[in-house]
Symmetry: D2
Subunit: 345 residues, 4 copies
């Protein structure tokens, strides 16, 4: 950590900074410069309370040299984390994994029908919302536990693993009971209470990036999970808030190589929420794999026109099949392969 | 709602849109134009599932003419909502209300000492966090119920009302027990489960705008509270995510007149989180009142240098006194007055 | 165009809107709804002055149904524009075109040496700045006409076409004299005077998206070029301003399919400026091609450590070669091919 | 400048950084830390080419401790700059100055009529566009030199000073001939060629902040003017690009105290462009003064409904009068006064 002093800071003010750093239990190295002095804090273990220093007289700004996250960092753990599921799917290795399914579970024939189609096309994980965080209180809020039961039934029939969202403690307990991966949605990325709960749940967690979250914020939220002892974490880029309304969100694919350099955790992309428009999902899914994503999460609905949520961004099953073929070639182009399909197991 | 067709939409595609609108229970008015046809949906009660139409062939885009929120709207209720507290403070009328206090409750002498200073300066509501949503799992997380008890004690001694944040169901139940206003923080603005819970809690709610939330998103989150029967809602602008790192957030004061024109709910400003820098809090607090804010929420700490959180943005008590005097003159300049101080009761 | 009236608009106010529309020479269609009336303006030719209507009493908002751009639109011209250069390179067809070279022309051996390397790797267009728009007045500003002469010499030796930036009228006249494609940079995207000048220059123009520009803004700026009679326009996504400082800009690859659906003009991507970091250029270049980009613009420097500008985002020639191979496979995966290399001509 | 090394940087890599710093002519101070080493560059005169260091092996990032601007900085010149005009108006002292007028000059009776009204209400500077940078090539582009002549005539009749925008070299030469202050608009804030030209023009310059510009970017653009010898510069906050479409731009009033702490140059606010909505101009103008703005730029039109541009954000003259009264009280509340009106001279 570097404490940059104002150019007109007095020797007493500089000394007060040095003293405060000592008081906090660290070493201080003043660096006099041509225009101003900076004071280095040595031995930062990630627990320094910068506020205690920033508020001193004569301090211009605090520059953080180390990152505030730790266990999620590649400096802490060099080798990439691979999350393994019961059905053999591995996320974070050389394989590209596809999670697909409808936005919401709407009924038995819908979810089981589409699951068969998706498995045939090569997806190994089935998504489907049972608890839906909706911007409006008057929108469809999901089938709750009945939806979870249908997802479990689809797993029994197809062998696909299940990923579905939990939105609070109660739903988390239910999701843990039925699903293979617990999803924490973008709106709850900084619901720290839910993160702690998920960190203790004993199931892999898919953590989506919030709309205003920096990559650092995302990693710090993941740190909450690891700090509770859960290292089975998959990150997900799903678009941030942008100024152009041509798309629902601004899919920040560069976050993928950025996360890969900073963290050992796998990261996938969700181009369905990331664009909000069916016609853009396919090119952006291809782009995500080309950028190095460890997987994709794609909304597919057997009849998008009658979907109860997110119909406009859901692919038709035939489009999904075509996408899977394109993605396979792209994965090969960069030395990766698609996760082996369950059909072939 | 207006369904804009592609310029090359066929008559059959247009008819399919008309049919779908009828099927959903509304009237349809096709409007042929020079370049394209648009189809008006008449009778929108805010519950139309646009996805069902947007996914039809030939549809270019859906334009929402009515807003998706209802009970929070001035069109639904013309007169401004005034939230009245037990100590006589009224939020949302002609008076400008000041909530002040430290970021976190840290101990008895800290909170009670500063409460006396704040009351003497004219604040009528005491703020102080007992449950802290912190970006890092390693930061101080608050004194929990012990902190709430100290806040209650400060109320007993000074007559100030108490506002403090709840971060999940458990803490909400406790906050409701001790506080006069339940605060829902920016990171939980779209924690819909917590909103529902707060909507049933029987206490006024202070709802902070999320970092990526539009004014519409904020109003929709407030709608969750009103939909549960709680009309005692105070909104709060506290800065959105911006691209310039000179300030912690980008305080969007224009949201104040925008909210006042769209909604009957009161809105206050929090320039402490909105700027993150003590020297900017004072001018921006003045600006918020000049922009028409119904109140201010200001962080003040008896000893900012030793604050356990947000020290760099906390005012010294003497600065707060000076601010109160400036704000009083500005309120008068626009035909408002400061809430009567408790000292004078 | 749709004029949405306030819910409490009086019949007289609605009539005034109808009258004003007639006065402006268009037809008006009032659409009474359950909550409010909207008035459709029929026959909009893109020249309606919305301000004249928006300022009338009782008007809530104006919704633009048609887009304000015209000649750049696919509705105006269905088939994709293909820009052909003297050396046979075609931009906007099925081929993926690569423009590469150093940020700045720094000297004869630098530019000619790297041009040979780039041509050997498959690039057909050489980039290199002679006029540099620099944020700081104290940074290197380019070699000006001397740089242009060196670019022309590199073309003579290698057969590569030349693209280089013009920053004002004077430099534009020079660039037109030497280059095959005139580049208008992001900071000048709304320098309308320069756009008009470029529209009359008789050379293809590469127009980069501004940092705060929506896709609509970008298309409107291109419209300036077409309005002057220049249809040889190539658009370029190079990153917009985002809130996360992990990358220099936020590369918005979704803009590529969005532009392709709205406009017939080709669009390429510049992942060098779009990320600002060498290690991110390669994955994002691959992603851009996978997203459907018609080409790439990549900074390559023979000795990035000694580059006079943008060294940190410039690839080493060996990295560029590897990238070209990956990109070729990705192009094939989506049914495209790389532009034939000059070496093989 | 601080060069942060990767945690696994080798001693040789660290030494190479030290050597490169020496080679560039500065001193190097390695600071070994617990997790990594950082190397301080001492003696930075603002001309270090960071690219030359950032591209070295083992370098994680470069942290700039000093700012890249110099002459605009308060560290370079402590006392505030006051720009004095021929009619006695002083911008940047304790007085709050008001510039007002229509978006565009449209004709003699319009501009002269409104000028008399504005002067009577207390404005001392008349604004009015003669060269209009319009997003669409089909919008009204201004009266050019004829407009400038009408502005000069208005000055002759009222004594008001004139501020008007230049959009390129040609219009700049004309604007310098007729106006008291040359305006550089937001879209040209990084038109460095125009800035250099304006820096040599011998007239005060009003420089508007670009839509994607940080405060640092704005100050660097001002630095271009000072580097050419023109210290008579007034900055202007006019809103940045935000994600919420409720307002045209996001007026960033916190930039006012931020600029005042970093620079000696005066800064005014333009709430007309900053909000785009007449009803929001008044509260935000008040807020700007409360935040410490040295002046306001306000669009006022004698007949907004018939304005040829920006009618919806133009005040009626009667609204402007009322605003001036409110602003006067607010200025007094913070120890400032309105610039003496010309009527009273």
């Amino acid at each position: 950590m570097l404490v940059v002093m104002r150019h007109d800071a007095t020797p007493e003010e500089i000394q007060a900074v040095v003293d405060r750093i000592h008081e906090l239990g660290y070493e201080a190295t003043p660096m006099p410069g041509k225009q101003r002095t900076a004071v280095g804090l040595v031995g930062n273990d990630g627990k320094v309370n910068a506020d205690r220093i920033e508020s001193l007289a004569g301090v211009l700004e605090i520059i953080h040299v180390s990152q505030p996250y730790k266990q999620v960092s590649r400096e802490w753990k060099e080798e990439s984390t691979v999350v393994e599921l019961a059905n053999g799917t591995r996320i974070g290795g050389t394989e590209v994994v596809v999670m697909a399914g409808p936005c919401s579970v709407e009924g038995e024939s819908q979810i089981i029908g589409v699951a068969h189609q998706l498995r045939a096309a090569g997806a190994t994980i089935l998504r489907g919302g049972a608890f839906k965080p909706r911007t409006s209180p008057y929108s469809f809020q999901g089938m709750a536990e009945d939806g979870l039961k249908l997802l479990a039934k689809a797993r029994d029939e197809t062998g696909m693993a299940i990923v579905t969202e939990a939105i609070d403690s109660e739903s988390l307990d239910l999701v843990v009971k039925y699903a293979d991966i617990v999803q924490i949605g973008a709106r709850n990325m900084q619901n720290f209470s839910l993160l702690r709960h998920a960190g203790r749940a004993g199931k892999p967690v898919l953590l989506k990036r919030g709309m205003a979250a920096t990559v650092k914020d995302l990693l710090l939220s993941a740190e909450y999970l690891l700090a509770e002892g859960n290292g089975q974490v998959i990150l997900c880029e799903r678009g941030v808030r942008g100024f152009d309304t041509h798309t629902r969100n601004l899919l920040d694919l560069t976050a993928i190589p950025v996360v890969h350099s900073l963290s050992h955790l796998p990261i996938i992309a969700d181009p369905s929420h990331g664009t909000g428009l069916r016609a853009k999902v396919i090119p952006m899914a291809r782009a995500a794999v080309a950028a190095g994503a460890d997987g994709l999460m794609i909304e597919v609905h057997p009849d998008p026109e009658r979907a109860m949520s997110d119909g406009a961004q859901s692919l038709y099953p035939a489009q999904f099949e075509e996408l899977m073929q394109q993605v396979e070639t792209i994965a090969a182009a960069i030395g990766r392969e698609m996760a082996p399909s369950l059909a072939s197991v």
